[in-house]
């Protein structure tokens, strides 16, 4: 069971970079933990902190206006590379509830949906517009992400819709556990296994 997401209004952090990979989101030295927690402090570690451990003032998440942000607006192909779900755990633990991007890497997108982090795909020009509005506001910018209505708006004239597959949307809206959901059709799994055995020598159906 994850925290259900129906709608959320929050402060925006903008990271106008494309192809941000999961190695950047959570570097490998933090992957040795055997828990799902403890990753928030390591989010974007190499960008957030200088080699001496101090905060890097140039990094977008360290800007004073980005403190307390819960919605991340980013460039295309966000979350590419490694399958590490630790990246999503880190983003959630840091406080993000939704990520808006022109596109996401496939595995990362699936991982978000498992953890109550809403990945919303907007058009590239809409993301560009959000970056403009965020900058024009001096970083003091808020958005509402409404998953129920599949809508993003800032209350200042920006309003758009986004698509989400009904299965994923329902999972996020209700905070469902995917295993529990699959076990509702467990008899199908058993039937499939029996069918293959009955085919003899695991006869395949292609």
């Amino acid at each position: 069971m994850t925290e259900p997401f129906i709608r959320h209004t929050g402060r925006v952090a903008a990271l106008p970079r494309g192809n941000v990979d999961t190695d950047q989101i959570i570097p490998k030295q933090f992957l040795k933990r055997v828990e799902r927690t403890g990753f928030g402090p390591a989010l974007f570690f190499d960008w957030r902190f200088r080699p001496d451990g101090s905060a890097n003032p140039d990094f977008e998440l360290n800007h004073p206006a980005a403190q307390g942000a819960s919605i991340l607006v980013v460039g295309a192909n966000f979350g590419c590379g490694s399958s590490r779900e630790h990246a999503v755990w880190a983003l959630r633990e840091y406080g993000f509830r939704a990520i808006l991007a022109p596109s996401f890497a496939d595995i990362f997108f699936a991982n978000c949906c498992q953890n109550g982090l809403v990945p919303a795909r907007l058009l590239p020009q809409e993301i560009a517009e959000l970056f403009r509005r965020h900058q024009a506001s001096g970083g003091d910018y808020r958005l509402t992400v409404d998953l129920d209505e599949q809508r993003v708006e800032d209350g200042l004239g920006f309003r758009t819709a986004f698509a989400m597959e009904p299965y994923r949307r329902e999972m996020l809206l209700r905070g469902l556990d995917e295993i529990g959901r699959t076990l509702l059709v467990e008899d199908r799994i058993g039937a499939y296994e029996k069918g293959r055995e009955a085919g003899g020598e695991r006869r395949e159906a292609w």
């Binding site: 040795k32 080699p51 590419c80 779900e85 890497a105 496939d106 995917e178 699959t182 799994i189 292609w206």
Partner: protein, 473 residues
Amino acid sequence: MSARTLFQKVWDAHVVHQFPEGPALLYVDLHLVHEVTSPQAFAGLRQAGRRVRRPELTVATVDHNVPTGDRAVPIADPIAARQLAALATNARDFGVELFDLGSPEQGIVHVIGPELGLTRPGMVIVCGDSHTATHGAFGALALGIGTSEVEHVLATQCLVWSKPRTMEARVTGTLAPGVTAKDLILALIGWIGTAGATGHVIEYTGDPIRALSMEARMTVCNMSIEAGARAGMIAPDETTFAYLAGRPRAPGGAAWARAVEQWRELPTDPGASYDVRVDFDASAVAPQVTWGTSPGMVVAVTGCVPSPADFATDAEQHAVARALEYMGLTPGTPLAGLPIDRVFLGSCTNARIEDLRAAARVVRGGGRRVAAGVRALVVPGSQQVKAQAEREGLDRVFREAGFEWRNAGCSMCLGMNADVLESGERCASTSNRNFEGRQGRGGRTHLMSPPMAAAAALAGRLVDVREWELAPL
């Protein structure tokens, strides 16, 4: 039934249930597990009081965080040791076979699966690792999954997946001498982009693909994820069957003949269509070297570092400027001649026996030595690859030339163990990702083929391996 692609046939054969809201419940034939992405999944099972549904279809090994030095020495990193111990406990408690550090079959999960004959045509294979795409070389549908999905597969032996689109990467022409499968896939990624195949499964087709060995096909499929595709596939053929025949976990006797008969039905039917097709001429491919911080930032070794001004959009120009700053490179600099500090021969992309042979061929003969000031590592993909290389005397070739000869693991591909770059060090690497900090914070990675990396080690700089005299085969 209408004409179907290889992907469609494997998909159809594994649909357990179609959710009306979109995705399918897909049956998994082989679930590979390693120490880094599994502990939270097993913990979830324990918490919910669930079992592993099909432990006999689940196989575990240790690869990501393991030291590659002396195996008799206790692991220095207590957190890594705890993660390895967790996998040992989980494997024992849940009845899953584990190839641990002491096992002669231990190795990188994507090397040992094929090597043991666990990976077979027509299977659905998953692993909590994005390079699971490797196994698609056998005509399997193999994809990387997250840890929640690992837990789901452990509990149900199924994966929830929305049917992806298909892309045919139709390769024509012939690979030139000195040009490898690694160069082919790097050039292809440079062409279609690192998100070019997002949402798709790629099938690689064409004569140059058919001409590749199984190990070379694995190199191609391995990097499908670097083009954005969760899976890449190659239709099984005689090369595939010859590779699998006699492998310890492959079917034997009458079962083998029946299996081959079934596998022959897998290739895409004439007239079947893909959602997208890209055409690619292999003849034009030269040895490739990445210059930036994304695998798509790649040129021929005969080329130069590009300028941000060469790119069309603001976003690309910013990304290139940022990458050049990180890499410490100036536009217009020829790639050949660039001095390097480190060499890494390894990873699930390029650490199989053929890779080591190809690299050794560059090193062998003429008293060649690793250049002064360069540190070069050879990390075999598995303990079996290591043993085979040692039987062939390749370890001596490398050692005598000044390379370090290690035990199997992921090692410096991702630097989770002690094998990392120092900040500012420049590395010629046979791995798959040149992301910022991937091989160590501030480290600068140039991806290339094993012969190119071996030649770079000897020259102390990037060189065009085609200009090197090779030892006879």
